[in-house]
Structure formats: C-alpha cells, structure tokens
C-alpha cells in the first residue's frame, strides 16, 4: 500500500497493491482522473481528456 498526492487538489490517495501502469484513479476529493504514469517511482498525472471516438 502506497500513498500519492492528487496533482489537482493535494488530497492524499491510498493505493491498492495491484495498481498497474496507466490505470485511472479518480480522486475521491476533487473527482479528477489521475493516470498512473510510472510505478517505480510512483508517479501520476492528469489523465488525458476522453476523445470523441473513445468507448466500447
């Protein structure tokens, strides 16, 4: 279990052990979507905007 800080609002997020690269983590405080950019060292960034052809 590790912790990171939301790049948008500074909230602390606790992470599950099975977190993977490029996973999207919604911030429980501000609702922004964070993307896991690297696992070691642990880094997140704002996830890219959903594009018009994204979906199922």
């Amino acid at each position: 279990m590790s912790e990171i800080v939301c790049t948008e609002c500074g909230a602390e997020l606790r992470l599950d052990d099975d977190v993977i690269q490029n996973e999207i983590l919604p911030c429980p405080d501000c609702g922004v979507e964070l993307e896991v950019m690297s696992l070691n060292p642990f880094q997140v960034a704002l996830a890219p905007e959903v594009e018009e052809d994204w979906g199922e």
Binding site: D18, I20, Q21, N22, E23, I24, E35, V36, A47, V50, E51, E52, D53, W54, G55, E56
Partner: protein, 293 residues
C-alpha cells in the same frame, strides 16, 4: 506458454480484470500503450511476431481500427478481427450487416444533409433518435420528439467541426418496457450471460449510471445473438437489444466490451471466458503455423 500482447489506451477496470484472468491461466500478457506505437506499412515491426495473439483493448476506436488494419496486413492474429471491428465500430455498417442477415432491428435511416434527414425522420415518425455513427457511452445521443427539436439538433450537429457529425444516422425510438434494455455478452456466438439495464432516463447505459440486473438467457436471446455474431464476423461482443411486442430487436453491437458492472449481477466470470477464448485462438494460430512449416 502463450505469448499475449494487450494493447490499451488506458487501463480501465476491464483491463485489470483481464490481466488478472490471464495471470490465473499462468500467462503474463505484455501491456502495450497505443500512444507509443508508430506503424510502418512497408515492414512489420519484429516485436509483433513474438506474440501468439494480439488483444486489442484500445479505448480509442480509430486507433484500434488502424492497428487492426496493420495486423491484418501482416497476418498477426487479433481479438477481435478487423472485419468484426470495422462493422461494429459503425452503427450504419452494423445495421447493414444485420439487415443482410435478416435480423430484427429498429427502423434506421442514413442521410447527408439536415433537410434530407428531416424528411427521413418525418417518415419514420416522432420520437426518433439521432446518433453519431461512431460513438459510445451514450455520447451525443438525441431523442427528438418533434420536428422543432430535430431541426435544432441537426443545426447544432452541422456546427460541430468534425465531418463525422455531418452524416446523420436516425433510428426510430423504441419505447422500452420497464425503462430497460438488454446487454448480452457473446463470445464466439455463445451468449455467456446478459443483464437488464434500467434507468429512469431513456438512455440506459451503465456508463451513465443505469442499474444492472441479471437477465436470464433464453432461447430467443441465445439464437438471435448467435445469428448477430455470425452477421458481424464473430469474436468477443457486447450486444444491446430492445424488448418489443414482436420480440427482441438488436440495437447495436460493441466490439470492445465493458463488463465491470455485469459480473456481480450475473455471477459469470466474464473476464476468464474472454481470456480462454483469446487463448483458444492463439492455440489455433500456433497449430496452423506448425502445420505450414
């Protein structure tokens, strides 16, 4: 040991579930981000020949389609196939494939200008539904109850810069009993489970918060989905259906299924079934390869 590549745009809940399902089968797929890829049509990147199967899980429809064109050119086996994705990515192509197979669907029209579209909607009758040809998650769906609303939506569509929104796909509105539709999960023609999706809103996508409940898979559903699967080229498919007085009709078919909300209500381990199917294709490809050499 099977070598599996999974191409993703982002790792959604589904990609994590699939990854874990592969691991349960003793396989560690290589996760590849579509953002990193550069495709050269003249020569295949040797990395791709390392894999027994390439599993496309891109969120981006256009990236997925170009990747499939590329893999098809180099005979790299994929889930889903290029043919299936090409049909399912486009609601009019899907409609044509279903029509060719004689399968029930709502009335559909395609038109190229606001004026001809208004005429077509007038003939179909109100309410009607205007949808982007390529789209998902209920994005830009418009239920138009009268000609004034249709005019307004079409005018707005025309001002959207993207040319794709200037081809107008219209469907007759289906009054869904109990405010629900059916989402069936179909693998190689077999409906492995289905859910009812209900909402007080006319758009019953779980991505929009609709409630998911188990839908028993009866003979009618199983048979229709089997034939729809054949019509679009098979593979791993999520089918949206409406209940009508004349029986089930097919609304659309998705080739990049999301299923996170459907495991619990159905009690079916969807991820492992998808993974086993992908592995069976990989196995088949290996055998075909060794027969040739």
């Amino acid at each position: 040991m099977m070598r599996v590549a999974m191409i993703i745009t982002r790792a959604r809940a589904e990609e994590k579930l699939l990854l874990k399902a592969f691991q349960r089968r003793g396989i560690e797929p290589e996760l590849i981000r579509d953002e990193e890829l550069v495709l050269n049509p003249l020569a295949i990147d040797p990395r791709w020949s390392e894999f027994d199967i390439v599993f496309l899980r891109t969120l981006s429809t256009s990236r997925g389609l170009y990747l499939l064109e590329y893999f098809d050119r180099w005979e790299v086996p994929t889930v889903n196939s290029l043919r299936t994705a090409n049909i399912c990515a486009d609601k009019f192509k899907t409609s044509l494939a279903l029509a060719r197979a004689g399968l029930p669907q709502p009335e559909v029209r395609l038109a190229f200008t606001p004026r001809s579209t208004l005429e077509a909607v007038g003939e179909l009758g109100y309410p009607a539904v205007l949808k982007p040809l390529v789209g998902s998650w209920g994005r830009l769906l418009a239920k138009v109850n009268d000609v004034d609303a249709a005019e307004a939506v079409l005018e707005h569509r025309q001002t959207l810069g993207n040319f794709a929104y200037h081809v107008h796909f219209v469907q007759s509105y289906v009054d869904k009993p109990h405010g629900r539709d059916i989402r069936a999960f179909v693998i190689a023609g077999q409906t492995i489970c289905a859910i009812y999706r209900s909402s007080s809103h006319w758009v019953t996508s779980t991505a929009r918060g609709a409630l998911a409940e188990n839908c028993p898979v009866g003979a009618e559903l199983q048979d229709l989905c089997q034939r729809a699967s054949d019509a679009v080229g098979g593979g791993v498919l999520a089918m949206d259906l409406f209940e009508t007085e004349e029986g089930l009709v097919l609304n659309e078919i998705n080739h990049g299924m999301e299923f996170r909300n459907s495991i619990e209500p159905t009690g079916v381990d969807i991820a492992i079934k998808v993974v086993d199917y992908a592995l069976s294709l990989a196995e088949q490809h290996r055998q075909d390869g060794s027969e040739q050499t």
